[in-house]
């Protein structure tokens, strides 16, 4: 337990000392939302949410929809990159720790907890920006959706960090999936008109985006989507943990 706490404390210190990353974390959500405010009209749009079915059409302003959608994108991007950096940046030093007796699962757990703490802070910060400019039906539900998005994409970042050694492939893997999944296909306005919806349901951003959107614009239950998001999180985490074990293991 002492080992985990030491590694957790020092892992949080590592994150807090990366000033560029901290600046991006502060600026990115505010920048995304400002761009939406400037560019998106206030006219009413109709869309459907995948987990609610076609019979329940949502009518809200395009700007409000875009605020929530962009918050989801911002958190997913930040969490993906944070997971990647936490796993990949000091991989050799982590390997040296393991070689010297630090159990891999404890090291992985400490990295995961520091990542989840960061995701929680980013979700609250981003959620508060959204809430300040548009009123959601259930603020707590939106926060849960953002945090779940962060958790799923944070785990994906850990997985990519454990999979690739070079940063170019890793950054591309994060940017491409986040952009295509959360930043495009999970947008309810796109989803409503999509000709093939099945593939959208299987992408990692599907359930957590649904949690945020359903909580923001309806009073319907978010339980099933939350369970789906958690399932995705644990699957990605399991694969990331397996890859990390393979990369970090010692033979002494």
């Amino acid at each position: 337990m002492t080992r985990i706490l030491t590694a957790l404390k020092l892992g949080c210190l590592e994150i807090s000392r990366n000033r560029t990353a901290l600046l991006l974390i502060l600026v990115l959500p505010a920048l995304f939302e400002t761009l939406i405010f400037i560019t998106t009209p206030n006219r009413v749009v109709s869309f459907e949410l995948a987990t609610l079915g076609a019979e329940e059409s949502i009518d809200v302003s395009a700007r409000a929809e875009a605020f929530v959608f962009m918050a989801v994108v911002a958190v997913a991007f930040i969490a993906g990159f944070a997971g990647l950096v936490l796993m990949q940046r000091s991989l050799d030093a982590q390997k040296r720790l393991v070689l010297n007796g630090f159990p891999i699962y404890q090291l992985f757990l400490s990295r995961l907890v520091s990542l989840l703490l960061l995701i929680l802070l980013v979700s609250i910060y981003t959620g508060c920006i959204v809430e300040a400019i548009t009123r959601s039906h259930r603020f707590a539900g939106v926060l849960i959706g953002l945090a779940l998005n962060g958790a799923v994409y944070g785990a994906y970042g850990l997985l990519i960090g454990a999979l690739w050694k070079r940063s170019l492939e890793s950054v591309l893997s994060i940017v491409l999936l986040t952009n295509i999944d959360v930043g495009w296909l999970q947008n309810p306005i796109f989803y409503t008109e999509a000709t093939n919806r099945t593939i959208i349901h299987y992408l990692p951003g599907y359930f957590p985006s649904q949690v945020a959107m359903v909580a923001a614009f309806t009073d319907s239950s978010i339980t099933n989507a939350t369970v789906g998001a958690l399932l995705y999180f644990f699957i990605l985490l399991f694969v990331a943990g397996g890859l990390a074990h393979h990369k970090l293991r010692a033979f002494a």
Partner: protein
């Protein structure tokens, strides 16, 4: 006869079907200083990684008795952490629960290797030489029985190089064993044994 703290028997290792090590064997007796030399790319670092357990050999075995301290060739630190925080994390890895005791050891190493002025600096802002000193000090933090060093003095200035040998002599006098790998060995008289890695096998040349 005392059991050697480190015994390497018949190590073989291939990478992408290319044989790097073929039947490499070595015994490091207690209180001895053993050197391994060889040209670039002969597999010295691969052999050391196998010896410390960072790599799995294709064949052969390594018998380690007691604690091993390993200083890798590439400086391997947590860049965003200070010198003391790096010590703290590695102390946790070594299972050193007596903080007062390991802090005392860390302070002694900082003084011996002369980098006290930077102890609160992050690793990423340290000079190459100071990073190498910290890299070495971390390997010594848990008072290992065998110290395995891969090109330990490549980035040292002359004064630090001399201090390194003082430290090595001190360790040897207290019964510790040192295994040093380098592509260049200047002070051959300091070594009890020198082995050359050639064509994947070790040959004793001193």
């Amino acid at each position: 006869m005392m059991t050697p703290p480190l015994q390497v028997t018949g190590i073989a290792k291939c990478f992408a079907r290319k044989s790097i090590l073929v039947n490499a064997s070595l015994t490091v007796p207690s209180g001895s200083l053993v050197g391994i030399v060889g040209e670039n790319g002969t597999g010295k670092s691969t052999l050391l990684k196998i010896i410390v357990g960072a790599l799995r050999p294709d064949a052969g075995s390594v018998t380690r008795r007691g604690r091993i301290g390993y200083c890798p060739q590439d400086v391997t630190l947590f860049e965003e952490l200070t010198i003391h925080e790096n010590f703290k994390l590695f102390a946790a890895a070594y299972g050193l629960s007596d903080e007062k005791a390991w802090r005392k050891t860390a302070d002694e190493l900082i003084v011996k290797l002369s980098f006290r002025a930077y102890e609160h600096s992050m690793a990423k802002v340290l000079s190459g030489g100071t990073r190498q000193k910290l890299n070495l000090a971390i390997a010594l933090l848990h008072n290992p029985d065998v110290l395995v060093l891969d090109e330990p003095y490549a980035a040292f200035d002359w004064q630090t190089y001399l201090k390194f040998w003082e430290l090595a002599d001190e360790l040897r006098r207290t019964g510790k064993s040192l295994l040093i790998v380098s592509h260049l060995v200047y002070d051959r008289e300091k070594f009890d044994q020198i082995h050359e890695l050639r064509s994947g096998a070790l040959e004793r040349i001193q």
